[in-house]
């Protein structure tokens, strides 16, 4: 560690940056060479989406000490805002068939719509935060959980159907596949349908990391450590909590928009509490207070649930012998057991509170001796 406290870019940081860059390059190459239907791309797309939402949740749970369970609600808002404003005009009559083509009669560019998704989610977070952030720990969790359920019900309400299409599906909006660059005859020249979501997610997570490492991030961490002491240091608890809640919800909303693109359809009833628990599980497995952990565990979680453990749901016959127990639903049993093992033996999650550069750093004490 350097003697002066000036921020220098250290070797571990360079190594980390190189790893991330290499990852993106590999994905790009893989996308051009492998078949687009390969499971790996499904995992990367959904993983990128979940990673962003998990990191947003970690900003609250791991860095600010706010235990919120409203993720599914904010994702729903993000997904709907994105879908509502990007369905091409020509398709609206088909999508909103029961509502005379809906009331929104214009479309926004994809990236503008994504930012709007975040802003609307953040606005809802602001309103909900006013009463809810006065609550502590479990009470806050229950209140935010309730909010997500209410939002899910409201978005299916028939009366606002011209906007949300009621309980019907929103579809035909631009998806990840529309990021592929096509030539005039409609053939894909450059595949970017995995790359772009990874980039969006990467930029958002980088912004969250920069926030965490700023003076505001220190204030949030101070609040998590000790609210009374943080307040005595001049940190206004209510406004900083509100800030963290809105920022986290902004990125959760963007994550919701990405989920809409991944799924290609949006329907309020799919944004259940189970979705929030999946995100919570990712955060816990990755390590509460580690951005790297949340990212890693997102991809692992998605890979396990969508790909690696799929074979457990089908009958497998090995050498004329039918393996017992394998049937539809068995995957979830094995998955639960894996999670229990992780929780029992890796209490701190995969990463604890460490980040990627910490893995290449000598132990604190050793570094001090060297200095």
């Amino acid at each position: 560690m350097s003697m002066t406290e000036k921020k220098k870019i250290s070797t571990p940081q360079i190594i980390s940056a190189a790893i991330i860059l290499a990852f993106y390059v590999l994905v790009f190459i893989a996308e051009q060479t492998l078949a687009p239907t390969s499971m790996i791309f499904t995992v990367l797309k959904k993983g990128a989406t979940y990673a962003l939402v998990a990191v947003s949740m970690n900003l609250l749970n791991g860095f600010t000490g706010i235990f919120s369970l409203g993720q599914a609600g904010f994702m729903l808002i993000g997904a709907y805002v994105y879908a509502i404003f990007t369905i091409p005009l020509a398709q609206r009559a088909a999508v909103y068939q029961y509502y005379n083509g809906g009331i929104v009669q214009f479309t926004l560019p994809v990236f503008i719509a994504m930012i709007l998704s975040g802003l609307v989610a953040a606005f809802f977070a602001y309103l909900i935060g006013l009463p809810v952030l006065r609550l502590k720990s479990d009470y806050l969790a229950v209140a935010t959980l309730g909010f997500a359920e209410i939002i899910r019900a409201i978005f299916q309400w028939d009366k606002i159907g011209p906007l949300t299409n009621g309980s019907n599906m929103l579809r035909l909006f631009p998806t990840f596949n529309d990021f592929n660059i096509k030539n005039s005859s409609g053939e894909v020249v450059v595949y970017l349908s995995t790359m772009v979501p990874l980039l969006i997610s990467g930029v958002c997570i980088a912004l969250i990391l920069m926030l965490i490492n700023s003076t505001f991030g220190r204030a949030l961490r101070a609040m998590k450590d000790d609210e009374i002491s943080a307040e005595a240091m001049g940190i206004h608890l209510a406004s900083h909590k509100q800030l963290a809640f809105c920022i986290s919800s902004f990125f959760t909303g963007v994550g919701g928009a990405m989920l809409a693109m991944y799924q290609t359809t949006v329907q309020a009833k799919s944004f259940t509490t189970a979705m929030t628990y999946e995100i919570l599980l990712i955060v816990v497995i990755g390590g509460i207070g580690s951005v790297t952990g949340s990212c890693l565990s997102s991809f692992l979680f998605v890979a396990c649930s969508e790909w690696w453990l799929r074979f457990l749901d089908q009958k497998q016959v090995i050498g004329g012998f039918e393996v017992p127990l394998l049937r539809n639903g068995f995957r979830l049993v094995v998955f639960s057991i894996i999670i229990m093992i992780v929780v029992l033996f890796f209490r701190q999650g995969i990463m604890g509170t460490r980040e990627l550069p910490d893995l290449f750093r000598k132990k604190r004490s050793a570094a001090k001796k060297g200095a």
């Binding site: 700023s214 003076t215 220190r218 101070a222 450590d225 943080a230 005595a232 940190i235 206004h236």
Partner: protein, 256 residues
């Protein structure tokens, strides 16, 4: 007469039927070290909490200089220039020594969350870090800067808590039993340290303490309370010879 930095007027703090502080008044002049002593449960920390905004007084007022600060939030009061330490150490446990002190600079920021996230406040951040570095060097904690705050020896943690409070740039420093759990040697060093920071940082200091050697050694004036009421006020010699104080501490002789 020196300028009055803190004025407590007729402060009462009641919790249900319990009157923890009962019509208590006091002043601290610019540059003074004033101690508040009294038996356990006399209401000393409650008085501190009423001054720093943790509690809103049931009645009475608190003035910082000419400004009435009664009922303001703790962070507003810190921003106006009162910093404090705690009876049970409350450092930020996930942070290093350096980060603990650096966090105290957040209060005096001019950046907002966007400029800070996008690093447009680089000059301010650099100044915060430089100030922290200098402060740690001045109090001989710089060599521990990358240690986790809670891994420091007990005496150093107490010291760090005072330094963190200093980083908020206070006019008045409130120390709640800073010598608790310290041995005589450490207590003596602490006394010297308190006098030194008063001089170097142009502070007034309000201290709650049970170590009488320390209190008598550094205080300009002492207030004594018992059951929330003031029973004596004066310079250390007067307090040492005050019969009411002796009775409060040693107990009355009604058994005999």
């Amino acid at each position: 007469m020196a300028e009055k930095i803190l004025r407590i007027e007729d402060l009462t703090m009641q919790f249900g039927g319990v009157v923890a502080v009962d019509h208590f008044s006091m002043v601290i002049n610019q540059g003074e070290i004033v101690a508040l002593i009294g038996p356990n449960g006399a209401g000393k920390t409650t008085a501190f909490n009423a001054v720093t905004g943790v509690y809103t007084p049931t009645s009475g007022s608190v003035f910082l200089g000419e400004k009435n600060i009664t009922g303001l939030r703790p962070d507003q009061i810190t921003a106006l220039g009162i910093a404090r330490t705690f009876q049970n150490i409350r450092l930020f446990s996930s942070m290093t020594v350096f980060e603990n002190v650096l966090t105290a600079h957040h209060l005096r920021r001019t950046s907002n969350v966007f400029t800070a996230t996008l690093r447009l406040n680089a000059a301010e951040e650099a100044r915060m870090r430089k100030d922290t570095e200098e402060l740690l060097k001045r109090v001989d904690l710089y060599e521990f800067k990358d240690e986790m705050a809670t891994s420091l020896p007990y005496g150093k943690q107490r010291l760090l808590e005072i330094v963190r409070a200093l980083a908020t740039k206070p006019k008045l420093l409130l120390l709640d039993e800073p010598a608790a759990g310290m041995n005589p040697q450490e207590t003596e060093e602490l006394g010297e340290f308190i006098k030194r920071i008063r001089r170097e940082f142009d502070l007034s200091i309000f201290i709650i303490e049970h170590h009488m050697n320390l209190v008598m050694g550094i205080s300009d004036r002492i207030y004594v309370i018992e059951f929330g009421k003031q029973i004596a006020e004066g310079v250390p010699e007067e307090i040492q010879n005050n019969p009411a104080v002796i009775e409060a501490y040693l107990g009355g002789g009604e058994d005999l």
